[in-house]
């Protein structure tokens, strides 16, 4: 096992990794920007090194600074957490060149899964169901009509160079497609200087379902079941849970096997997440893969009893999956996570500042992952997640009731947080019945306005 690990991250995930290392007898080195001097990840690590000014680009994203810190601290390995450098293949390559173990997959695989079309092709080859689409650029109107017939309406036209909704059209039938194709292409050409379009099946009310995997460096892959992450606002997940109400044991088992085969083929290792959309008929389509630990990994930990961060460390140290997970994976109960962000609960404006009171809920089945504390400061430079509140119950009903109880005992003063928003969501009848998809929050806000 590693003697000393540098954690190239901040906030709750840095503390999460530090805690895992401590429990495994591994010494820890924190890096921090000038804005994080009084952060708990700095205080609870064995050593801490300031690597730059507050801006992420100059500190946490500054590869030479992180590597240099790793060298002067003489570490064996670097854990990148999530975000920041975690899916940066170049960083993984520099680690390799510097003889420091990067706790993640090989850079080649990160790169492969980072490119959407390559990832799609890779998964398609391995028989993972992917979202039907045009397999590349559409030449003209006529080809667009052919693809649409193939894919099945409704379809969505997207600009290859696109982003921000421009050059994007949802087409519901063959009549409206030609004009929409022209409009979208012209819009894209004007906006991005490139009118190239591709097409995907459009799902009106998709659910976001993702599978957690672990894979070792010896070619062994294991699926740990799914998480449902449909409660999102502007593609930011707010609430995640495991298991999903929509995944039957049969689907879980079958998809788990398919994923296993796919990842064995590409030589994946590390923890990883395969993201899917599920349509209204319960059909599931691959959209992308994340080659790192996820924010919401905790709900999987709660229902499987497997420590995913420790597993990452052991995999990176060369251990076999069979020695890390010695019993068959079993889903026990139901877990839900609320992301507590430093944001205004209605306006979603970031709320940086000093925390003046901080009371954490505790008790049976309640887990809090946070690096904040009373008198702590939320700096304005980084993402707004200040805590994750995870509740585990015998079933979804108990987990939800526990969450309501815990939210009512979670007190943060001095800044705004999303706690009041979560309280409203957990009182919502549709949410409680599990009737939701990725557009739930839009409808929820409308209901709130009306009510």
């Amino acid at each position: 096992m590693f003697r000393k690990v540098l954690i190239a991250n901040r906030g709750e995930i840095a503390l999460r990794v530090i805690s895992a290392c401590k429990e495994m007898g591994i010494r820890t080195v924190a890096v921090y920007s000038e804005a994080d001097r009084n952060s708990l990840h700095v205080r609870f690590a064995d050593e801490a090194i300031c690597i730059g000014p507050p801006r992420s680009a100059d500190s946490y994203l500054n590869v030479p600074a992180v590597i240099s810190a790793a060298e002067i601290a003489d570490v064996d390995a670097i854990h990148p957490g999530y975000g920041l450098l975690s899916e940066n293949a170049n960083f993984a390559e520099v680690c390799r060149a510097s003889n420091i173990k990067f706790i993640g997959p090989p850079p080649e695989v990160t790169r492969m899964m980072g490119e959407k079309s390559t990832a799609r092709q890779t998964m398609k080859k391995a028989k993972v169901p992917i979202l039907p689409g045009s397999d590349g650029v559409i030449a003209d109107e006529k080809e667009a009509l052919e693809w649409a017939k193939d894919v099945g309406y409704p379809v969505i036209l997207k600009a290859v160079a696109g982003g921000g909704g421009r050059g994007m059209r949802i087409c519901r039938n063959a009549e409206e497609l030609p004009s929409m194709y022209q409009q979208a292409s012209t819009e894209a050409a004007n906006a991005f200087g490139n009118g190239d379009m591709y097409m995907e099946k459009f799902i009106e009310r998709p659910r976001h379902i993702e599978f957690q995997v672990l894979a070792d460096e010896h070619g062994n892959v294991m699926s740990l079941g799914e998480r449902e992450c449909s409660i999102q606002r502007r593609h930011q997940k707010l609430i995640e849970e495991a298991p999903s109400l929509m995944v039957t044991p049969k689907l879980r088992d079958e998809l788990g096997k398919t994923i296993k085969k796919a990842l064995e083929n590409i030589g994946y290792w590390n923890a990883g997440t395969i993201e899917f959309l599920m349509d209204e008929d319960g059909k599931i389509y691959f959209i992308e893969m994340n080659t790192r630990i996820q924010v919401e990994h905790c709900v999987t930990e709660m229902v499987t009893g497997i420590d995913l961060v420790k597993a990452q460390l052991r995999i990176a140290a060369g251990e076999k999956l069979s020695s890390i997970i010695t019993k068959p994976v079993e889903i026990r109960g139901h877990a839900i996570e609320c992301r507590i962000n430093a944001e205004h609960p209605e306006k979603f404006t970031p709320s940086a500042g000093k925390i003046t009171a901080f009371n954490l809920p505790g008790g049976n089945g309640v887990r809090v992952d946070t690096a904040q504390y009373a008198e702590g400061v939320v700096p304005p430079y980084y993402d707004s997640l200040i805590a994750k509140l995870i509740c585990h119950g015998a079933d979804r009903e108990e987990a939800m009731n526990k969450m309501q109880r815990a939210l009512s005992q979670f007190v943060v003063q001095g800044i705004h947080t999303t706690i009041p928003l979560h309280q409203k969501i957990f009182a919502d009848a549709e949410f409680r019945r599990g009737e939701f998809d990725t557009k739930f929050m839009e409808r929820f806000f409308e209901r709130q306005k009306e009510g």
Binding site: K22, V29, A30, E34, A45, I49, P53, S59, A65, I72
Partner: protein
């Protein structure tokens, strides 16, 4: 910064607050903002005492390790008081712009770039900080006399760590 009169008034205010056992005082009126907080037992609800915290953690870094020393005291006590003394003298600090290893001379055995008492010009090389096998020359950003070398040769330094103190001309 503050003229003689204001300082006198401040003195009076502070005496008054002390005499009345006031621990904290804020005033914000028109273009005047005052905030006073006395040190010491009574006025010390600083929340988490990190010294104690680090002791409780039982993870005090091993002595003798340069990096560990950085970790243990990013804003250490004695360093701070020395700093205070220097600030009265208005010494300028040259800080490390990068994380790396400090070297006072261009190569092992060679004489140091600068010695205590040397007069240096802006842009003159003071030392090297090695990072990722690259030797980064650190230049003086003020002209003046080198009063103190704060880092030791071969010592790991973090971002922003003071390397030299210079009495500016």
């Amino acid at each position: 910064m503050m003229d003689r009169n204001k300082l006198e008034e401040l003195r009076e205010l502070v005496d008054f607050l002390k005499a009345n056992g006031i621990a904290e005082f804020d005033l914000d009126q028109d273009d005047l903002k005052v905030r006073i907080k006395f040190a010491g037992e009574a006025a010390a609800p600083t929340g988490i005492d990190f010294a104690q915290l680090s002791r409780l953690m039982g993870s005090a870094p091993a002595a003798g390790s340069g990096v560990a020393a950085i970790g243990a005291a990013p804003s250490g006590g004695s360093a701070a008081s020395e700093l205070a003394a220097e600030m009265e003298e208005k010494l300028h600090e040259v800080k490390s712009p990068i994380v790396g290893t400090f070297y006072e001379s261009p190569s092992p055995g060679a004489p140091p770039f600068v010695k205590i008492g040397d007069q240096v010009e802006v842009g003159q090389v003071l030392c090297i900080v090695e990072a990722m096998k690259l030797m980064n020359e650190i230049e003086a950003d003020v002209a003046g006399e080198v009063v103190k070398r704060i880092a030791a040769s071969g010592q790991p330094v973090e971002y922003g760590q003071p390397l030299f103190a210079i009495r500016a001309r």
